[in-house]
Structure formats: C-alpha cells, structure tokens
C-alpha cells in the first residue's frame, strides 16, 4: 500500500485515525501495530510471516545480549542478530544479482549456468533491515536499553509510516516515544499539514514531471537531442527529489500525528556546494546510518589518508548497492565515492574559493549527471544519455508540448533552490517551524484540506502511481 493510493487515503487512513484516537492511550501502540501489520500484509502477503518471524528472533537475541554480562556471548548474540538481518537482505535482495553474475563468469569459462528460481524482493526490506541493525548495535553499545515488550519492538520495526521507504529511524531516537508519548493536538495538526505537503510534492510535482520523463526516456536515447536529454535528466532530478522527499514528509507527518518525531530525511539537497554536503542533506538518515554503522567502524577519519579515501569509497559503493542489486547502482555509488575522495583531496578547497553559487551549480551538475546512471538500468544506455547531454545537438524538436510539465518543472526548480536566497529561508522557517496563531491555524488548515482534496482529484484524474523508491 502506498500513501498516494486511494486505498490508503480514503480507506486505511480514516479507519486507522478513528480507531487510534478513539482508543485509550495505553491501547494505541497495539492499534498502531495491528494496523501496521495489516498495512504490510496488504502489500506483501507472502512476506509478512518472514518479517514477523525475523522480528521475534531479533527481539530475543537482543534481549539475551542485554541480559548477559559475558562479552563473548554479547558478541555472539549481536553477531547472530546482525547476520540474520543482513542474511535475509543478502538473500532476498542480492541472490538474483549474484547468480546472474556468477552465470556470466561460468559462461565465460564454457561451464553450465547455475539454475536458480528467481527470488522476489520483500517490500521495504532495505529499510527495516537497517532499523534492526541500529537496534542491535545501539543496545550492544549501551546507547539505549532494549524494549521490554515484544510488541513495542515490533512496532519500532513495523510502524507503517516509515516501514516501506524510511526515514531510517535509529532505535535510540525513537525508543522513548514508543514507550510513552504525549498527545499534542497542535503537533497532530502540524503532522497533517506535513503529510499534505508531502502528498502535494508527490502528486502535483513528481508524478506530473515523471509521466513526461518516462515518455522521453522510453525514446531512442542514441538520437536524442541535447535539449531533450537535459530536460529528461533535469526532470528526473526533480521527480526523484520531490517523490522521495514527499514520501519522507508524509511519513514524518503521519508520525507527528501520533506524537512521534522521526528524523528529517532531506534538507534542500540541491543547494549543496559539494557532493559531501549533498550527502549530508540527501537521504540524511541513510547517510547517518552509513556513517555510524559502517564508516566509523571501518576507521572513519581516524586513519591514514589513503585508508580514509578507501573507507569513503567503500561506503559509497555499498550505498549504491543498497539502492538496488545491479551494476548501475554500484557504478553510481562509485561515481559519488570518487567525487567525495576528490573533494577531500583538494577539490573542496577549490569550491570554497569559487564561492557558494558556482559551487552549487557545479555540484548540481555532478549530481544530475549521476542520476542518469541511477535512472537507466542498462549502463551503456546511461552512458549514451550522458553523451547526448554533451553532444550539443539542438536540431531536433523536444517531443513534449505540455505547458503543465514545463511550469511544474520550473516550480520544482524554484522550490528546490528556494533556500539559497534569504526570503526562501524565511518562508521555510514560517511553513515548518512557526507556532501558528488560532487564526493562522484555521487558514493553514483550510489550505491544507483544499490541497488534500485537490491531490485526490489529481490522483484520480491521472491514474494510480506507485512511488519510485519502492523498488529499493
């Protein structure tokens, strides 16, 4: 079930909100858990038992880890719990990729290919695996004590707002709110506003742009004009941002409605003045996870420079692979890793000397070109598209006549770069961080409700559209 589906918006959400708020506080976690199980079971009926089973095993492994004083046992339980999570992720997400590549190698040596029934990918596995790992590691590091109740732990892993596509919520950030949280109507209302902002980003911007981008990229890339190629890739750059950040806004908003404070996942990433900064602003929770649970354990910055560069590169290679089991994601991760290493080697200083605006433009171009590798599954096609970006062939007609698309693209670019300017920063702080007066609340509520209903119109007028990020 996706947040921008009719089933979610007009069936699941009202029933859930009625049940949740009609219940006494002590039952609310249970209601949320039950609805979360229904949410996951609805979309992935064959995997719900796997998810619940692995959650139960993890809970007990971590409970034993916490209760034992024996360091060897602690390591054993932690190792088992992490192996279970990563094992499931490895099998479901990477087995097909591994076997396909193994068969290429076997074929090169004239050997028979390895036969293997294709494995289906459980939805959201990349996200809940990482959350399980934070639970194990945070408990192991004594950052936070584990949950006493299995249902609370299950809620942490399965909670529907962030189950499918994040944000990746670290255990230590949310454990206290699962145990106890206050009902604050002002926050619930702000959660609704945030949900509507996310829905609007998805439905009114990302889907409109995405529809045309799909048409453009389905054409013959080799003969694509440079103008068309730039519009396609710029469109995709905006589509991806508004789609994914829209989803995160909806998740954060839904969390807030119930009193949870999920971490922010985006902070105007296209305003970054370097690729390093981009990764502190794009999919922030993934960056934080990679830093805390991979980069630092590998040695982080506290090692020799060559080793640090290697660590950085490996982290980004694995980040790429986390996004999807294909070589194009590996290359995309490596591409980002190379830029990060170059920035550490001195490019960052060049950016500083150039000033903010030129650095932002250069970084945006680097990121945009990278999205070509990310978007197009076949690597050679991706490189064809990149070559068309710089072919300076402006003869052919751009095959999109829709003013709606172009205006939406301009609006998307405007909002993507808004906080580069002081008035944009002011606007952002008003929308996201102001305590509204009652009159302002009434006005904002009316606007939000109008937008919500308007999005329903757009959604039903344009058809059903799944999120991009669901395949990861």
């Amino acid at each position: 079930m996706v947040f921008s589906s009719n089933v979610f918006l007009i069936l699941f959400l009202p029933i859930f909100l009625m049940c949740y708020f009609a219940c006494p506080k002590r039952w609310r976690n249970l209601v949320l858990l039950l609805f979360s199980i229904v949410f996951y079971a609805y979309g992935a009926p064959t995997f719900i038992l796997l998810l619940l089973g692995s959650t139960v095993i993890n809970f007990y492994l971590v409970k034993w880890l916490y209760e034992t004083d024996n360091l060897v046992h602690k390591k054993l339980y932690a190792g088992l719990a992490i192996a279970l999570s990563l094992g499931l992720l490895g099998y479901f997400k990477y087995a097909n990729f591994f076997v396909d590549n193994l068969n290429v190698v076997l074929g090169a040596f004239g050997l028979q290919p390895f036969t293997f029934a294709k494995v289906l990918l459980p939805i959201g596995i990349s996200f809940f695996t990482f959350q399980s790992i934070t639970y194990v590691v945070d408990t192991y590091r004594n950052v936070h004590k584990p949950m006493e109740r299995l249902t609370d732990y299950m809620l942490y892993i399965i909670m529907f707002p962030q189950l499918i596509a994040g944000p990746i919520v670290r255990y230590c950030d949310i454990a206290d709110e699962i145990r106890s949280r206050e009902q604050n109507w002002a926050e619930s209302l702000q959660g609704f506003y945030r949900f509507v902002i996310g829905l609007s980003k998805k439905v009114l911007i990302a889907d409109v742009i995405g529809h045309q981008v799909d048409i453009l990229l389905a054409g013959d890339l080799a003969t694509m004009g440079t103008g068309t190629a730039w519009i396609a890739i710029l469109g995709y750059t905006m589509q991806l941002y508004f789609d994914f950040s829209g989803y995160s806004d909806m998740a954060i908003g839904l969390g807030k409605i119930m009193g949870f404070h999920f971490p922010e996942n985006f902070d105007n990433p296209y305003n970054s003045a370097s690729v390093s900064e981009f990764w502190r602003r794009w999919h922030i929770t993934l960056g934080v996870f990679m830093r805390n649970y991979l980069y630092i354990p590998l040695g982080g910055n506290r090692c020799s420079k060559p080793r640090m560069y290697f660590n950085l590169w490996v982290v980004f290679l694995l980040s790429g692979l986390w996004h999807g089991a294909s070589w194009s994601f590996v290359v995309w991760g490596a591409y980002h890793g190379i830029w990060l290493v170059l920035e550490r080697m001195g490019l960052g200083k060049v950016y500083e000397k150039m000033g903010k605006v030129p650095s932002v433009i250069i970084t945006f171009l680097i990121i945009t070109v990278g999205w070509a590798i990310f978007r197009i599954e076949n690597l050679s096609d991706a490189f064809t598209l990149i070559s068309r970006l710089f072919a300076f062939d402006f003869q052919s007609i751009i095959p999109i006549q829709s003013p709606h698309f172009y205006v939406t693209l301009i609006v998307a670019l405007f909002f993507a770069f808004l906080v580069l300017f002081p008035f944009g920063k002011k606007l952002q702080s008003i929308v996201f961080y102001t305590d509204f007066s009652p009159k302002q609340h009434l006005a904002v509520w009316l606007v939000s409700m109008f937008l919500f209903l308007f999005c329903l119109g757009a959604l039903n007028a344009a058809g059903f559209s799944p999120f991009i990020y669901f395949r990861f």
């Binding site: 064959t46 609340h441 308007f454």
Partner: protein, 465 residues
C-alpha cells in the same frame, strides 16, 4: 474555542476523511457523474488466492479510484486547474485549438498526417485496402441495383476540414506524406461510377456565406442546421437514384438556444467544473412537408457518429418506413436496439432495405464501410446451401483441434446448449465476421461471379410489407 482550535481542526480532519470514506461506499450525496465512457468496476471479493496473487489489492485500488467519495468534484476541480492554468485538456481525446475551439484528437491527427498510421505505416497496404473496398462497393452496388435496392455513400466533412484555422499547431504529427482515404476513395468512386454525395466542396464553398455555424466550437460534429440541410439534399439524391417521390423537409427559421446533445460533447468530455464561454448555438426546427404522393421507403444506414445529428434533428420516422442505424457496422440503433450486427440475419436485413447509406465523415473514412461490404457480398453471392457447406467445413476444422473442441463442448454444457447447435452457431458467426477468410472469391480485389438465387423472391416478399 481558541483554546481548543487545534483539537477542533484535527477532529475536523478526521471527520472529512470519514465523510469521504462513507461517500465512497454509500453515495449518500448525489454527485453529477462525469461525462465519458467508463468501465464499471465491481467491488472485489476477498479470497485467499486473489489476496496472495495481489489481484484483490489491485482491484480494490481500481474500485476505490472509480468510487472515491466526491471524486467527480475533485476531478472537475483538477481539470479546471489544468484548463485555466495550462490550457491543457486532461482528456487525451480532446484537443484545445485556437480561441478555445475544441477538436477530437483523431481529427487533428488526420489533418496533419493520415489516420492510415493507426493501421499501418505502409502506404501500399492502405491503398490495397481502399481499392478493395471501392471495388467491393462497386460490385455490391451493381448486385443491389438488380434487386432495386440503392446503395450510396454520403461523405461529410470533418471539423478539421472546414475549420482548419482554429486547429492546434502541428508539432508532433510528422507524417504529412500519408495516404488519405478521402483523396483516394473520391477518385475511385468517380472512376467506378459509384453513387456518392461529397459534402466537402459544398461546405467549403458556403462556409463564409451562410449566417449559421457549420460546426460548433465545443462539439465534434456538424451543427444542427448544417446536418438538416445535408439531409434534405440526401432525400433529393435518393429520389434521383430511384425515381421515387419521397417526403421533403421544411426547415424553419434559425434561432439561438442552449446547446443540445451532442453539440457540446467535447466540452462535456473535458469534465470541467465551470462551463466554457463559447459562440452561440443556432438551431432550426424541421418538419416534414405534407405530400399525398410521397412514399416512405426503408433506409438502412451504416456509418459513424455523424448520423446522430440526423437522428436528433430530422423526424426520420415520418420519412421512412424503417431507418435502422448500424453504428460502425457494430451495434444496431433504431431497430432491435443494441443488438450486435453479427447477430442479425444479414440476408433479410439487406432485402428489406430500399436504400443503404454509407454515411462517413472524412476522418472515419480510413475504416470505410466497417467490413459491411464483404459481409454483404457473402449474402449477395452465395446462397444458404453454399454458406452451410462452408459452415460444416469449418465445424470439421474445429473438431480437428481437440483443445478448441473441448472448450466449446465445455461451454455448451455450461450453457445447456446442444453441442451441434453450438458448433454451428460458432462456425456461422466466424464466417459472418470475416467471410473473405472462408470464401476465396471475396479476398482482396477478387470478385465472385456467383449469385444468391434466393434473393429476388425474398426481396419481393420483404419489400411489399
């Protein structure tokens, strides 16, 4: 109140969501339905297999999308936003031209390229099709004349032909070299001596001199006044063909009125929240002149939707003994309503007609005659015994395919139908649908030399009724 504003607003949010939910499943508030063809989506039933394979989920999403509470209002609102802000239509079949003139997408495409591309990129293939249909019509015309039945073509101009100045700009339709059905067929009709009325030059000639619109700004088809004038001409043409005296029309003074069905069908298809401003709609009332010497013949029309303006504005029942309309030779109107033409006895239908009109707009000519001619030839050239022989040959063929035979047998058992009768019906249906597959003489440009000897007596019996 101020103190509780947050709670009140949040609870109101839940109330709105619940209202949507209730409306979705109960329709407790009447909402004007959206215009256009929609496929009714049934409420899905939950079973373990359809839940596991995901079909329940996708069907439930489709159901919620089609029945979402107050969906019609939201969609109209969104369409209005697209229309006002971006001058875009959310309906791909409706295109906005200059000064808010609306065109059906196929008209624009036909104007800038040729709708042959809907079938094939191959001009030779299209030429063969038009040539075959023209030759079949020539043959059908000759065979029907022997039975005192008159077939003719009435070609009506498309909106793009008469009002090209408002068409949207051509930017994407890039096949100007396409073979146009109109150009080819008109030439061949002249060469073969086929009966036809071409309204295109007439409309072009009078466009700037008449004081009423030939086409409405927001409709697909011609105006009421244009249609009735054309029909009056058709009656005179029919008189010339047969020498019969037919009733004539009396066309009243023109007057302005609110748009009538289907004169703003394109605007309706946009499903906007607010009506568009458009140029006035002119109408004229039509009556039939008293004439004690006139006869009421039987007119069978096969063609496209241009017939609707005849049907809505001309009192056909006062002019004809019968006037069935076979919409694209597919569904029957004004006689055995909503029957498929393939379920009819074509032999009988042909023989009871005095006139057969093939009524097509220029845009629909790329599918000229809608397979009527080969089917008509089947009954004009082969008697029941020959067709039965082909049916039995096909039954044997079906029986030699065990899988297909078993399927028919199973269906017959389910429907409690005699197996032999089921086989006969299926074979006959297949032959009627594509007779040229089973009768070699009907293929391509070949022409059968045989005649259905049963027809003269049948014609005599039916025409005297």
């Amino acid at each position: 109140m101020k103190k509780n504003i947050h709670k009140i607003l949040f609870v109101s949010t839940i109330v709105v969501l619940v209202l949507l939910l209730v409306q979705t499943f109960t329709n407790f508030v009447y909402v004007k339905p959206l215009a256009g063809v929609t496929v009714e989506v049934e409420k899905p039933k939950l079973t373990l297999p359809n839940y596991i394979d995901g079909s329940f989920q996708s069907n439930l999403e489709n159901y919620c999308r089609e029945h979402c509470g107050f969906r019609e209002w939201f969609i109209r609102l969104y369409n209005q936003y697209l229309w006002n802000c971006f001058h875009e239509s959310n309906n791909p079949t409706v295109m906005r031209g200059k000064d808010n003139w609306l065109y059906e997408e196929v008209y624009v495409r036909d104007h800038y390229e040729s709708l042959m591309y809907k079938y094939t990129q191959d001009t030779a293939e299209m030429r063969n099709f038009y040539e075959t249909e023209a030759l079949r019509l020539w043959k059908v015309q000759a065979l029907l004349e022997e039975l005192n039945i008159h077939i003719f073509v009435n070609i009506n101009p498309g909106k793009d032909v008469i009002c090209p100045e408002y068409l949207p700009k051509n930017k994407l339709y890039l096949h100007p070299e396409g073979l146009r059905a109109y150009d080819y067929l008109i030439k061949r009709f002249d060469e073969l001596g086929i009966n036809y009325i071409d309204n295109v030059p007439i409309f072009k000639a009078i466009k700037n001199s008449v004081d009423y619109p030939l086409f409405y700004q927001t409709g697909t088809h011609w105006s009421n006044i244009a249609a009735v004038h054309v029909f009056d001409s058709i009656l005179r043409y029919m008189e010339n063909l047969s020498g019969q005296q037919l009733y004539h029309l009396e066309i009243g003074e023109k007057y302005q009125a609110k748009p009538r069905k289907p004169d703003q069908d394109l605007e309706e298809l946009l499903n906007l929240a607010f009506p568009m401003k458009s140029s006035p709609y002119w109408y004229a009332d039509v009556t039939v002149k008293e004439d004690s010497t006139a006869v009421k013949p039987f007119l069978l029309t096969i063609g496209d939707s241009y017939f609707w303006n005849f049907a809505y504005n001309v009192p056909l029942q006062d002019l004809f003994r019968g006037h069935p309309y076979w919409y694209y030779n597919y569904i029957v109107y004004y006689d055995s309503a909503n029957t498929s033409t393939l379920d009819l006895d074509l032999e009988q239908e042909l023989m009871r007609a005095d006139y057969i009109m093939l009524n097509y707009g220029t845009t629909s000519l790329y599918e000229f005659a809608s397979r009527f001619l080969s089917r008509a030839l089947l009954y004009l050239c082969y008697d029941k015994a020959s067709i039965d022989a082909a049916v039995h040959g096909l039954i044997e063929n079906i029986k030699s395919d065990p899988k297909r035979y078993a399927e028919i047998k199973k269906n017959a058992e389910n429907d409690r139908e005699d197996l032999n009768q089921a086989l006969y019906n299926i074979a006959l249906y297949l032959i009627k649908e594509n007779p040229e597959i089973y009768f070699e003489d009907l293929q391509g440009e070949k022409m059968p030399i045989s005649r259905n000897k049963d027809l003269p007596s049948l014609r005599k019996a039916l025409s005297s009724r």
